[in-house]
Amino acid sequence: MAFRPDVSDFGDFYERTYQVAFRTALGIVRDAALAADVTQDAYVAAYRHRDRFRGDAPGHAWLHKIVVNQALSAVRRNRLTVVEADLTALSRSLDHARATSERLSLFAALAELNPKQRAAVILRYYLDYDYATIAQILGTSSTNVGAMLSRALDRLRLKLDSDKPLAMTGTAR
């Protein structure tokens, strides 16, 4: 459905996209309350720029760009505050047969990344964007996105290796 810039359509757009936007923010800021605020800030910005959105295109890269930038700004504003994910809360509704300690360790290890690396990881491995789109969202080149992700994966592996035996290893099949 094409998005038209009026309030009722924006409400529909909001409700269709809200949860993924919230989860994207959560993956970056790692705090549910802050992620909720970031998401609201993002929708306010999106509403104000809604005339620039062409909603008949696939995907919501435009919205996710705003969410990511709001999240990075929030992390920057809150960078003196230690924000750690509450893994217990994050895992409360998981299927516990699948919620292995290895996976929780992997998610916890994301805290080792700097915010922009974390954003790149979320965009690539949660939202499945290609490098070119991630580059547009983060305001860098595709080449830099590749380097950023490469360093992020290396750092995650190192963290997990140092946390053995609880952590998974890179050789998991």
């Binding site: 305001g139 380097a147 890179g170």
Partner: protein, 452 residues
């Protein structure tokens, strides 16, 4: 870690993110009751009234300037030459030997290999656990970035120069440059200076948006500050052919919310600490690579134009004339409604008479004034006939061949394979050599053709 373990790790990371994040639900799923709706509701009526009146004022201003003629002049686009039909898609690329060495990394990198087309690849050993950015230089020299640790500790990072031997092995280290001040984030690969005695690269310095371009051993100087947050991330440091300056690209985010982003091309002079702006793109245009003409009078650049909400809306290639107080740009090519991930280049031929680039997976060659263009056949194509290319495009030293990376399918699909193709530009442009298709692909290609 070897290259075959990385995809498994990536799959597990993807699954983990979906497991953990998909179980979370935000507290404001309905628009009507959301804080955002409350915040925008108050000023909406006043904003609509203002917007309507501003639109009327704009129409009145255009009419006052001369009506349709003024509006037409304002909206006129630079004409784009139409490309001729391409030669037929080959059934299979021809695999053969060539006298050039190709250096590259595999997949996400970590180790550097060299090979000849169709030959055995050789791993460059013994320099450090993590190597990247192989760059051929003068006289068979090859430079690379080496980290003493797998986790790239900035104090342990150095540029190493070796000489490539006849059997593809590397000599002992000839030069080692420690870059202890190297910032941690967003460091680009480096480029040899024209004199071959230093390198240029870009980096962010800290988190306050200051960035630097440095040539180890020559100068290390901050040349600008961030224009907004997130800070502009510089990239594509390219030496002016006379060695006096380095051009580079940064992207700015003026509203801080990702809308209306644009790119800048700046020129940093070796003997000064300030950058001189050369070009600011229109909003929602991002530059993806730049290349100096051999005579230093022009910069060719490739960019992506995107529509908010629609991702990439198309790509373009333009030439910027660099002169004292007089900078002009000419649009050479554009391709709309395609994935910019299938673009590469541009690159100038060694004599400056031709430019090569890839748009939509098709390698295109033509004169920099827009004449005599042709498309070379893509080696790969998907069901729709779309070819896929990847950076870089490299000319041989004699201008007779072009090397470019090509993908088996869209990078939107996970784990595409890639190959490296060499085209004979002097004939019909048929591919004359390839490196084998490889899952994960070739990264940071560098190519040097040596004499027989």
């Amino acid at each position: 870690m070897n290259d075959f373990e990385q995809p498994a790790f990536e799959r597990q990371l993807r699954a983990t993110l979906h497991d953990v994040l998909d179980a979370e639900h935000g507290p404001h799923p309905g628009w009507a009751d959301s804080p955002a709706a409350n915040r925008v509701a108050g000023g909406e009526r006043a904003k609509r009234w203002n917007a309507g009146n501003l639109r009327l004022l704009a129409i009145a201003a255009v009419l006052a300037m001369g009506g349709a003629a003024a509006a037409g002049a304002f909206l006129r686009n630079v004409p784009t030459p139409r490309l001729p039909e391409t030669t037929p898609f080959p059934s299979r690329p021809v695999t053969g030997a060539t006298n050039g060495w190709v250096a590259y990394t595999h997949g996400t990198g970590g180790q550097i290999f060299v090979t000849r087309m169709g030959g055995q690849e050789t791993l460059i050993r013994g320099l450090g656990p993590r190597q990247s950015c192989p760059q051929f230089g003068p006289g068979g020299l090859m430079a690379m970035a080496v980290s003493a640790t797998l986790d790239t500790d900035p104090t342990q990072w150095r540029i190493v120069v070796v000489r490539l031997m006849a059997d593809g092995s590397a000599s002992d280290e000839l030069t080692t440059i420690f870059v202890e001040e190297r910032p941690q984030d967003n460091v680009s690969c480096f480029e040899w200076s024209p004199s071959g005695d230093s390198f240029a690269y870009t980096a962010l310095l800290g988190s306050d948006g200051v960035f630097t371009i440095a040539t180890p051993g020559l100068f290390y100087s901050p040349i600008g500050t961030g224009r907004d947050f997130p800070p502009p991330i510089p990239d594509y440091a390219r030496w002016k052919p006379d060695g006096t300056a380095v051009a580079f690209v940064s992207a700015a985010n003026p509203h801080g919310d990702g809308t209306d982003m644009y790119s800048m091309i700046d020129l940093a002079f070796v003997d000064a600490s300030a950058a001189h702006p050369l070009l600011r793109t229109d909003p929602n245009e991002i530059i993806n690579d730049i290349a100096w003409s051999p005579d230093g009078t022009a910069i060719a650049y490739r960019g992506t134009r995107f529509v908010p909400g629609a991702g990439s809306a198309g790509s373009f290639v333009r030439v910027l004339t660099v002169g004292a107080g007089n900078v002009e740009r000419l649009q050479l090519d554009e391709l709309n409604d395609h994935q910019s991930a299938s673009d590469a280049g541009p690159a100038w031929s060694p004599d400056g008479s031709q430019l090569a680039w890839a748009l939509g997976g098709e390698l295109r060659v033509g004169a920099p004034d827009g004449s005599g263009w042709r498309g070379l056949p893509p080696v790969s194509s998907d069901a729709l006939g779309t070819g896929w290319a990847t950076d870089p495009v490299i000319w041989s030293a004699d201008g007779s061949q072009l090397l470019v990376g090509q993908l088996s399918q869209s990078p939107l699909v996970r784990d595409p394979e890639s190959s490296v193709v060499v085209y004979d530009v002097t004939g019909e442009g048929q591919p004359t050599g390839v490196l084998p298709w490889r899952l994960g692909g070739y990264g940071r290609l560098s190519w040097q053709v040596v004499s027989n």
